[in-house]
């Protein structure tokens, strides 16, 4: 599912660039690209929520920096 979502998003982006450079940026083609991208983004988020890994990513992101000084502020 992750790869499918990625593929759809890349496809939508390529279609949008094509509509800008080759089709004079016509809104109909741009909106078609937007539709493809929307489908891809929804797929991506559904995959994120329902992947087997569940909520294991909680500590990722910037959490590693929380080590800091660890002390309580000077009371």
């Amino acid at each position: 599912m992750e790869k499918i979502a990625s593929l759809i998003i890349i496809g939508g982006t390529v279609l949008w660039l094509f509509s800008i450079f080759a089709l004079e940026g016509r809104w109909q083609w741009q909106m078609l690209s937007a539709l493809v991208l929307t489908v891809g983004i929804f797929c991506a988020h559904f995959w994120e929520e329902f992947q087997d890994a569940g909520d294991g990513g909680q500590d990722a992101g910037d959490g590693g920096q929380d080590a800091g000084d660890g002390g309580t502020p000077g009371e």
């Binding site: 979502a5 809104w27 992101g61 920096q65």
Partner: protein, 662 residues
């Protein structure tokens, strides 16, 4: 090494953990006492007339300082009485004083429309005789001509306003509460900006105790910085303006415009350095990747995309040499940026829905194993309300509101009102509540919603422009409930305080505004700000209210489908590509926020972010710095607010005693 994928919610929650310094252990107490109630009324009603007057004279009401003045007076009185002030009391005092000071401003529209109905603009655009009587009495009525809000002519507009206010209270209290329970209790969203409000009251409460902690020290540092900055930025111009015809501005307010200096190598680009360096405090608080991405995107827009791509392609075709930042922005906006911005806003809506809807689906699964990430069970003694009661209140409030609007504009299609009330409003509010819970700001806003609605409804009467629509957003308000929780204030005491003070404020607000209107006509020479601005505002209002009448207004012509599509699709592509390459979603919000923005307006925020990231964190450590941040920001706001109120008071007194030479 392959980059690890982090979901948007996890990314934001990891960042927001830095702000959660209380560790989630809280006890709840009532903040409503007789002394708080009387204190709030005293300070609020004392400052309310000055606040209304100032807003007409200078355009700045200074009302934001009043709650802090009340809290500082309260804590000093407590200290001298050898008693203590609890943070619940102080937070309640902040809220009630803010409501009291602002109570006069809620009737401002009456004065505005009493002026508007008799303007030449309203007459020439053929609106004057079409303004409904539930907004303002006729232009030749006694109530308008004698400037009396207490005249029976005003009965209908005031009655409609009060009915709306009552129904609005029902809807907003219940709607916000339900969403708070959903996002804070069940989904455990962190509300990263809520501690800023909570920390101010906490810091000041500690001053009345025996021991002072780091909070008071940090709050004092922030306050002193705010006082110094406020004096330089607001105080000096205000005080020198009293004595001189041309006020002294140490730093030019609000910006130093470099637009004409860069037009040689960046035509159509704008760069106006915003001089309000108080914005650095926002840079301290906001996530660094957003600040950085925002600035880079803005620089790229003004120095590459606009001058090197859009200008040669004649998309930005109205720009000329010699324009200042306001004129350049206006032309660029009409040529391209307004359409692009509309598309961009729609992409926020799609991205917000894409992140939220899967969570809604997953919530059913979570409910089965409640307790892992949150549940509807409430903490003891928080003063919660039954959900069914709140649901019933919202339904009654919304049904009554729809009926009221239908009574106001009976020919407007009822289906639109029902759709907004029972479909759009809940979805919109939920998405906003989530974005506030995760990001501390609103991302889901559909621009020109009313205009789109009016076009789709094919309703051509002008009266709809004066009526409210039930397209509401309770999401922002959920943060207030979170602050109550952080300060340990029971929900019941807050609601009781709000309901008790409301009738007093409804009456006092209209009486005070009546007397201010009696002093002199508004606008008139007594009120220079409105005298300068209101005629322009009247023209703008006429342009908007007639923009759909003949279908060829400048506003409508500026909206181009291909540019709207470009904004919409490019932002979706950006968001999607960031996801594909496992890059932080914060970059998206930074880039989207910064694109076609003025980088000069972001310098102070960026400076704050850089100092915070590369100096303060090294100096104090990550954890301690993020504990200091909200307290520092609250102290700074207090300092600037006090300077603003003080200097304005001096200016008012001097205006009152200067004797004219004739």
């Amino acid at each position: 090494m392959a980059r690890e994928r982090v979901s948007q919610a996890d990314e934001w929650q990891a960042w927001a953990k830095r702000y959660d310094i209380e560790g989630g252990i809280r006890t709840f107490e009532s903040g409503l006492t007789v002394k708080v109630f009387i204190g709030a009324l005293f300070i609020g009603l004392l400052m309310m007339p000055g606040s209304i007057y100032l807003s007409y004279v200078s355009g700045q009401s200074g009302a934001e300082a009043a709650p802090w003045v009340a809290v500082i007076l309260f804590t000093e009185l407590a200290r001298r009485s050898f008693t203590t002030a609890r943070r619940q009391e102080l937070y309640m005092l902040l809220g009630l004083t803010g409501a009291a000071v602002g109570s006069g401003m809620q009737y401002r529209n009456f004065i505005w429309y009493a002026y508007f109905v008799n303007t030449p603009q309203a007459a020439s655009y053929e609106i004057a005789d079409k303004i409904p009587d539930w907004i303002v009495p006729a232009g030749d009525s006694v109530g308008v001509l004698t400037r009396s809000l207490l005249h029976p002519d005003w009965f209908l507009p005031i009655a409609v306003y009060l009915a709306g206010k009552l129904l609005g209270t029902l809807r907003f209290v219940s709607g916000q509460y339900i969403l708070f329970r959903l996002t804070a209790d069940l989904e455990r969203l962190p509300y990263p900006m809520a501690p800023i409000s909570a920390q101010g009251a906490t810091a000041l409460a500690e001053t009345t105790g025996k021991e002072e902690t780091w909070r008071w020290r940090v709050f004092s540092i922030g306050s002193m910085a705010g006082l110094i900055w406020g004096f330089l930025y607001i105080g000096v111009p205000a005080l020198s303006g009293v004595m001189m015809s041309q006020p002294i501005e140490i730093l030019k307010i609000p910006w130093i415009d470099f637009t004409q200096s860069i037009e040689g190598f960046a035509p159509t680009g704008v760069f106006a350095l915003r001089t309000d360096f108080g914005q650095m405090l926002i840079g301290f608080v906001m996530p660094f990747p957003i600040m950085m991405a925002e600035f880079v995107a803005a620089m790229a827009s003004q120095f590459i995309i606009k001058p090197q791509i859009l200008y040669p392609a004649e998309i930005l075709h109205q720009w000329q040499e010699g324009l200042d930042v306001r004129a350049a922005n206006l032309f660029n906006s009409l040529d391209f940026e307004m359409s692009f911005g509309m598309g961009k806003s729609f992409s926020f809506a799609v991205v917000g829905m894409a992140a939220s809807i899967p969570m809604l689906f997953k919530m059913r699964q979570r409910q089965k194993r409640a307790g892992e990430r949150g549940s509807f069970a409430t903490p003891p003694n928080r003063g919660d309300f039954p959900i069914w009661l709140m649901g019933a209140m919202w339904l009654i409030g919304m049904a009554g509101f729809v009926w009221l609007i239908h009574w106001m504009v009976p020919n407007f299609p009822l289906s639109f009102l029902l759709g907004y009330a029972f479909l759009y409003t809940p979805i919109n509010s939920y998405i906003t509540a989530r974005t506030f819970g995760v990001l501390g700001r609103d991302l889901f806003e559909i621009p020109y919603l009313h205009e789109i609605t009016f076009i789709l409804s094919r309703y051509e009467e002008v009266d709809i422009w004066f009526a409210p629509l039930p397209d509401e957003d309770y999401g922002r308000g959920t943060q207030g409930w979170r602050v109550l929780e952080l300060t340990g204030t029971t929900f019941t005491s807050n609601l009781a305080g709000t309901l008790l003070i409301m009738p007093i404020l409804l009456v006092s607000g209209i009486v005070v505004l009546h007397f201010i209107w009696q002093i002199a006509p508004i606008p008139s020479a007594q009120y220079p700000f409105v005298q300068m601005m209101w005629p322009i505002n009247a023209t703008n209002e006429c342009l908007w209210k007639t923009s759909l009448r003949d279908g060829n207004s400048e506003m409508l012509q500026a909206i181009r489908g291909d540019y709207v599509s470009a904004g919409f699709t490019s932002m979706l592509a950006l968001y999607g590509l960031l996801w594909v390459f496992k890059l932080p979603s914060m970059w998206f919000y930074g880039i989207a926020g910064g694109i076609f923005g003025d980088p000069g307006s972001m310098v102070a925020r960026l400076l704050g972010a850089v100092i915070g990231r590369f100096y303060m964190i090294k100096r104090f450590g990550m954890r301690r710095w993020y504990m200091f941040n909200p307290v520092l920001a609250a102290g700074f706001a207090c300092g600037v607010g006090l300077i603003g109120m003080g200097t304005v008071a001096i200016a008012l007194v001097s205006k009152a005693v200067i004797v004219k030479p004739f």
